[in-house]
C-alpha cells in the first residue's frame, strides 16, 4: 500500500506528531476558556484593583502557555523523529495551570 517514493514510507503512519500538536492546541483552547471566564469574573463583580490584577495575571499566564505550546509545536515540526518533551516545559505548563487556579481562588473570594 506504500507509495513509490521514500518520504511517505518514512512518515509515521500513526500521525503521532500531528496528534500531539493538536493536543497542545486543544489544551491552549481550554486555557483560553478559563482566561475568558477569569476576565468576566473580574469585570462582573465590581472591578477592584485586586480582581483586575488577578485577571491580568490570568491573561499573562495564558500568553505564557501559548508560548510554551508554540515552542513545542515548532520542535515537533522541525524533526522527523522529534525529541521527547523536556521536564522544564512540562513543569512550566503545569505551573501555568496551577497559578491560574490560584488566581481563580483570589477572584472567587
Amino acid at each position: 500500500m506504500r507509495g513509490a517514493d521514500a518520504a511517505p514510507a518514512d512518515r509515521d503512519p500513526g500521525l503521532q506528531p500531528e496528534r500531539t500538536r493538536l493536543a497542545w492546541r486543544r489544551t491552549t483552547l481550554s486555557g483560553t476558556v478559563v482566561a475568558v471566564l477569569a476576565a468576566k469574573a473580574a469585570l462582573h463583580g465590581g472591578a477592584t484593583a485586586v480582581s483586575v490584577l488577578a485577571a491580568a495575571l490570568c491573561c499573562a499566564l495564558w500568553l505564557a502557555f501559548l508560548r510554551i505550546a508554540h515552542g513545542r509545536i515548532s520542535t515537533l515540526a522541525a524533526a522527523r523523529r522529534p525529541r521527547a518533551l523536556t521536564p522544564q516545559h512540562a513543569v512550566a505548563a503545569a505551573l501555568c495551570t496551577l497559578v491560574l487556579a490560584l488566581c481563580g481562588a483570589v477572584l472567587v473570594l
Binding site: G14, S30, G31, A84, T97, L100, A105
Partner: protein, 130 residues
C-alpha cells in the same frame, strides 16, 4: 514522600534523566506527552468549573458558592500537579524498561467529581428555595 522529592528534583535535571536507561521509541514519549496534556485539560476544566459555579449560580448563599468553587479549584491544582508527576514517572519507567506506574488518582478524582456533582444538585435544588 522521599520518592516525590526525588522526582521533583528530576524535573529540573533532564540531562540526568537522559543518562538513565535507553531512549524509548519517540512515539511512546509522544503518547505520554498527550496523556499529560489530557490531564492538564482535565485540570483546566475543573478550574473553569470553579469559575462557572461562582458566576452562574449567583442566587446561592455565599458560603456554598465559594465552598464549591474552591473545591473545584483545589481539584484543578491537584490534577495539574499529578499530571506532571505522572508524566515524569512514566518517562523514567519507559527509559528503564520497567512497568508503567499505577495510580489510585483516577479513582479518587472520579469520586471527588461525583461527590461535588451530587452536592451541587442538592444545593441548587434547596438553595433557590431558601
Amino acid at each position: 514522600m522521599i520518592g516525590f522529592v526525588r522526582s521533583v528534583r528530576s524535573w529540573w535535571a533532564p540531562e540526568e534523566v537522559r543518562r538513565e536507561g535507553a531512549t524509548p521509541d519517540y512515539r511512546f514519549s509522544l503518547a505520554n506527552e498527550r496523556t499529560f496534556l489530557a490531564w492538564l485539560r482535565t485540570a483546566l476544566a475543573l478550574i473553569g468549573g470553579g469559575f462557572a459555579v461562582d458566576q452562574f449560580l449567583p442566587d446561592l448563599r455565599w458560603g456554598w458558592r465559594v465552598g464549591l468553587a474552591l473545591a473545584l479549584l483545589a481539584a484543578g491544582v491537584l490534577c495539574s500537579l499529578r499530571a506532571v508527576n505522572h508524566w515524569a514517572r512514566c518517562e523514567r519507567a519507559m527509559r528503564r524498561g520497567e512497568d508503567l506506574p499505577v495510580s489510585r488518582f483516577p479513582a479518587l478524582l472520579s469520586l471527588v467529581v461525583a461527590v461535588v456533582a451530587v452536592v451541587m444538585v442538592v444545593v441548587v435544588l434547596t438553595g433557590w428555595e431558601g
